[in-house]
Symmetry: C3
């Protein structure tokens, strides 16, 4: 695995290898010193052209917990203001010889392009409406911990599927792991031909009770002014996930940030069946695992830099997952 | 001590314990390696919903000098732009299992609310017009170094007391440490009933010579348009602290940033009796002490993580205050 | 060397000492652990009042690779918003006892003023139209690696010389290193009396073939509205550096970010004779060398803090350039 650009590039075994690695980092997170020396002295670039709290902070903390040095570039306040092209920005940052570049960009395919311009491993942290593979991996991780296996599980993804890179990556990842996926939303918000990804399509919540897992998508409020929905109120009346519609047996997910009272009710967010906080926690360990697999995995078999403990460097140094 | 939300929660002995700890960090600051390993592998979140140079940079540097990993979230450029609620932002960041969350927020009581939503220690770095307890502690620290004790000292706090969280926290802290506090300003800028906190009230500087310490508050220029003062010029004529009004025996303080020529004259800022630079330096060591007391104090008696020196971990490892 | 404010302060030997040091850091950059412990436990402040990707990120990464703790203050979102004076901002940051302050500011002479207000070493990262000395040093470094020596080399600096701090610092540095420098641009963009710095002046590219090195300057698009050039199109017609004008024997440089199609053509940027990516890579190691020379050089002969490896501290600890 050289880059993480799309769930399409990953087989079931590769996904499982990342999730297993993430489990070992979850164990590190329960220690007092939540840190391993794996990437000490190596550089990770975080390059975000769209605002983000959870994705950027979890990638950045993941890099720090792997002991990497971090260069964080946000679009505002950078040379991007001066109209520098993406290619030149990447060339600039690549000149520091970073081990990885984590990129979020509003254009579909941006991460793929970046991968062609740099020797660093490229991680797609969201490219337009295309994909958000680390989100899908953390979603699978979260479900696997609860359900043991996704095989035969029925997962409904509800809401604005059309504009959602999360939906696209999740459909790919959930089906690859054996789940039966249904996407559901008003016809204006379901992309034509999405059945081609291997999912079913519904336009109402009538049969929601079939689902084992309900995954609510964020509704951008600007969709209303863009006429995709007549009003947020009408959208909520037909598609909001709330405790009236949700069966206590069902698990609830959301990629965040939530719009309480729009695509999801506040009480549903805070209910025991909500996995939303678990998803965020999963984000950190899954992103550690992604960086580990890309930078310290197979092609680099003995990444045993000094761990700062003074202990001799060996095949399984202290504080490093075996 | 689980959180630092308000000076009201602190007894004199607790304040003194923090200040004594801060003295030990001042000693660390005089070394070549101004760093201790106390919080190595633990995470501190800095969450600022208002702009700040000195408070955010001193908390962040304090965390780094304690060897913590830092996650810094500013309101601009974060999911807060997307209208995420404070509760959800805190839930997100709490999912990383941080040791502490340092929060500044425009609403009074915000830090208290956050403390109810997270297992992390919460440090109030300013909540609306309510409190700014770390500022008050660094102010007491600064005065204690100069005056040895605050008992019986007369401290005048001058200016916009009404909108000042610093004034509120300082009145509480100074009186708790035995000082006699007077607040002074035009009636429009003195909150009704403030005598209830144990201070006297004055509406002119006529008797300023009584003070041992003069503490000038920042005048927000927008107060003029809000009609709290007729003009900055008239305010300055009546309440500006300058060398004509200040006796050379008196000490001068200000929380910064100063408006030279408004609430304080430039020459007063730069005079030998000004403690303003000492206050900033105190901010760093007092904030290290706050984080230490919350995260490595009584309930965690043996915080002796590896110090990176290769020396055996013992009860008083190298580079850690005894 | 106490500060780096201007190339004017540096003799040829001092420049060569910095470049030699930078070579040793280039060697560190080829290791797996691209990091040395030189500044462990010391603080570097990065204070940028203008937006920047490459200069701020390379100084910040340089500080991290030297193991310093970094405090990064950008003008937006800081107390600077509240109208704090530069002097007070510097006093605030100096109270943390930083080893160095790296400053970019829109006013010529700002770095010099800052140096008078702080005990920290001050590095000028660009002060208005005055100087950008670290850029000039990395440019000399890049050329020295390619040409071995600058003695007798003919370097043309082409474009908006009038507004360019890079041009000013480069003319000084290149001539000091023995090169023959020509500045070239329309008369409106060449400052009067620049010959006094020891360079020739041209107003057309007719004799560009004389040059061994062509250094294109960035054209700010706002210069057009300010009437310095009639149109970007006409400027490009007369002064754009492109493969039609460039001889394959000539080397091409640019300080970035480039405006493809304005002062330089895209194909020229990407051509084998372009040193632009090498310049960025040089920026990192030269800035490490600048911080090293200022903070760990002659007047501090034995900067051998613990390197985290557990090895005994000696005159040449592991991971530190000899």
């Amino acid at each position: 695995m050289r880059n993480l650009l799309s769930i399409e590039d990953l087989g079931r075994e590769e996904i499982e290898a990342i999730l297993d690695r993430a489990e070992s980092f979850a164990e590190v997170g329960r220690r007092d010193i939540k840190k391993v020396p794996t990437l000490r002295g190596r550089t990770v670039v975080s390059l975000f052209f769209e605002s983000s709290t959870r994705t950027s902070s979890s990638f950045e903390l993941a890099a720090k917990r792997l002991s990497a040095d971090l260069v964080s570039v946000k679009a505002a306040g950078s040379s991007v203001d001066k109209g520098e092209s993406l290619k030149d920005t990447v060339a600039t940052l690549s000149a520091y010889d970073p081990a990885a570049i984590v990129i979020r960009h509003p254009y579909a395919g941006a991460a793929q392009m970046v991968a062609g311009w740099t020797a660093a491993a490229v991680v797609n942290a969201g490219d337009g409406k295309h994909e958000h593979p680390s989100q899908a991996l953390l979603d699978v991780y979260t479900l696997r911990r609860r359900l043991d296996s996704l095989d035969g599980r029925r997962i409904w993804i509800v809401g604005d599927v059309l504009h959602s890179r999360v939906a696209r990556s999740d459909v790919l990842a959930f089906t690859r792991m054996g789940a039966e996926v249904t996407v559901c939303g008003p016809p204006t918000l379901i992309p034509r031909g999405i059945e081609g990804l291997g999912c079913a399509v519904e336009h109402s919540l009538e049969r929601l009770e079939e689902a084992d897992v309900v995954y609510a998508l964020r509704m951008q409020t600007e969709r209303m002014s863009e006429s995709f929905v007549p009003s947020l109120r009408e959208y909520a009346a037909n598609f909001q996930i709330n405790s009236r519609r949700l069966h206590p047996r069902q698990l609830l997910m959301h990629p965040g940030p939530v719009n309480r009272g729009v695509e999801i009710s506040g009480e549903a967010v805070d209910s025991p069946q909500s996995l939303i906080a678990e998803q965020v926690a999963a984000g950190l360990v899954v992103r550690m695992a992604i960086l580990y697999e890309l930078l310290a995995g197979a092609e680099r078999p003995a990444p045993v830099p000094d761990d700062g403990s003074g202990a001799p460097a060996g095949p399984t140094p202290i504080g490093q997952p075996a």
